[in-house]
């Protein structure tokens, strides 16, 4: 079998296959995912959850007639 044209590179590492949908990959490589921006976005989500969340506080139920 003629194997001319095939080159074996000594010490070559196998290429790491990265699934592009891996959340950590997205997190670390997305252009907008600067850690400061991400922290602000997460805080905004928490604030929105508190402000827009349902009222579950126990309160006096006024007995209207």
């Amino acid at each position: 079998m003629d194997d001319r044209g095939t080159v074996e590179v000594p010490g070559a590492q196998p290429v790491r296959q990265v699934l592009r949908l891996d959340p950590f990959f997205v997190l670390l490589n997305a252009r907008l995912a600067h850690p400061v921006v991400l922290g602000v976005v997460l805080a905004a989500i928490v604030v929105a959850m508190i402000v827009l969340g349902p009222s579950t506080d126990s309160r006096f139920i006024y007995t209207d007639f």
Binding site: L38, L52, G53, D57, F60, F65
Partner: protein, 331 residues
């Protein structure tokens, strides 16, 4: 290592943003003209601490003084404020003598000293079946419970759960203003307990459901059957106990006190309260208040058209209440 550094920066940014929002809430949350109908312990503490009580005429009471079904600007306290009386309205729906006493204890422990205290005494709340009898409003309970004696606590039923969740909630509410005042923030933003209720209200408005409910909301005498218990007031009636304690506390603190015997719609409630037993209850209440509290007997001071229902005054009724109170408080 890169990932750990990344997470560290995210955490720092997250914490810094929340701290910034919290600082903004602390600095910018306004002093409201009266307590919202779902106020938090954090807001109440803030209202007392930020100079809203000391040297002010403080109103403590139930929905009658709060201004049930009226905008804050149409209440008697708002009218008094327009006339130059330095008024703070700390009344709320579900107030009672137990709540008034607890509020006074909270004010005292926080070092607030009112110029005078005006509170209303509502006969219906001496009925053990009333929902305000032996119950503190949750925010008041949160602030006042530790200030009450064991004997006083034994008279009351706790409404705040004593679970691990509730303990976490208390700690978060204490240190995180946005969380502690979330009910007040929602009320301020949406004019409702939460966003979903606000949307529901807007839909009800658009569909006419709110108008139909309002039209059906007509007070008739039979709706108040059982509202008043006219048995003679016993010394161990929880409201009587806290009425006496309120009068004694104000006298001991040398704070001028005015008690309003709550206006009652006698035309509507004629069958229930135009009887000697009701008059006897009013006499018992006067006696329990003692000589140091100035009593304003407004029980029969308003005509039927000045009421929304059995005891809540219309905007015109509130204006007249302010006119009657002004000479007493302006001095």
């Amino acid at each position: 290592m890169r990932f750990v550094r990344f997470i560290g920066i995210v955490a720092l940014s997250f914490a810094a943003t929340l701290a910034l929002v919290d600082a903004a809430v602390r600095a910018a949350f306004p002093a409201l003209p009266r307590l919202e109908d779902n106020f938090s312990a954090a807001y109440l503490a803030r209202a007392i601490d930020r100079g809203g009580v000391t040297n002010h005429v403080v109103f403590l009471g139930d929905s009658v003084l709060w201004g049930y079904r009226l905008p804050a600007a149409e209440t008697a306290t708002a009218e008094l404020a327009r006339r130059g009386v330095p008024v703070t309205n700390l009344s709320f729906e579900g107030g009672s003598m137990a709540n008034t006493y607890a509020m006074l204890r909270v004010m005292a422990v926080r070092g607030a000293r009112p110029r005078a205290v005006v509170f209303n005494v509502n006969v219906k709340e001496f009925n053990a079946a009333d929902s305000a009898y032996r119950t503190l409003y949750p925010a008041v309970e949160t602030l006042a419970w530790q200030e009450l004696t064991p004997q006083e606590r034994a008279l009351l039923q706790r409404t705040r759960p004593q679970t691990a969740d509730a303990a976490v909630d208390r700690v978060l509410s204490r240190w995180w203003s946005l969380y502690g005042m979330r009910a007040d923030v929602r009320e301020l933003l949406f004019g409702a307990p939460d966003a979903a209720t606000a949307v529901q209200g807007a839909l009800g408005q658009a569909s006419g459901r709110n108008a139909r409910t309002e039209a059906a909301h007509r007070p008739t005498a039979e709706r108040f059957l059982g509202t008043y218990d006219l048995a003679p007031l016993a010394a161990d009636n929880v409201e009587v106990v806290f009425l006496r304690k309120t009068a004694a506390l104000l006298a001991a603190a040398n704070v001028p006190a005015v008690a309003i015997l709550t206006p009652a719609n006698h035309a509507l409630l004629h069958d229930y309260i135009d009887v000697p037993d009701y008059a006897a209850q009013l006499r018992s209440i006067r006696a329990a208040l003692g000589p140091r509290v100035r009593v304003l007997d407004y029980d029969r001071a308003f005509s039927a058209r000045e009421f929304i229902d059995n005891d809540h005054l219309t905007a015109a009724g509130n204006r007249r209440l302010a006119e009657m109170l002004y000479p007493v408080l302006a001095r």
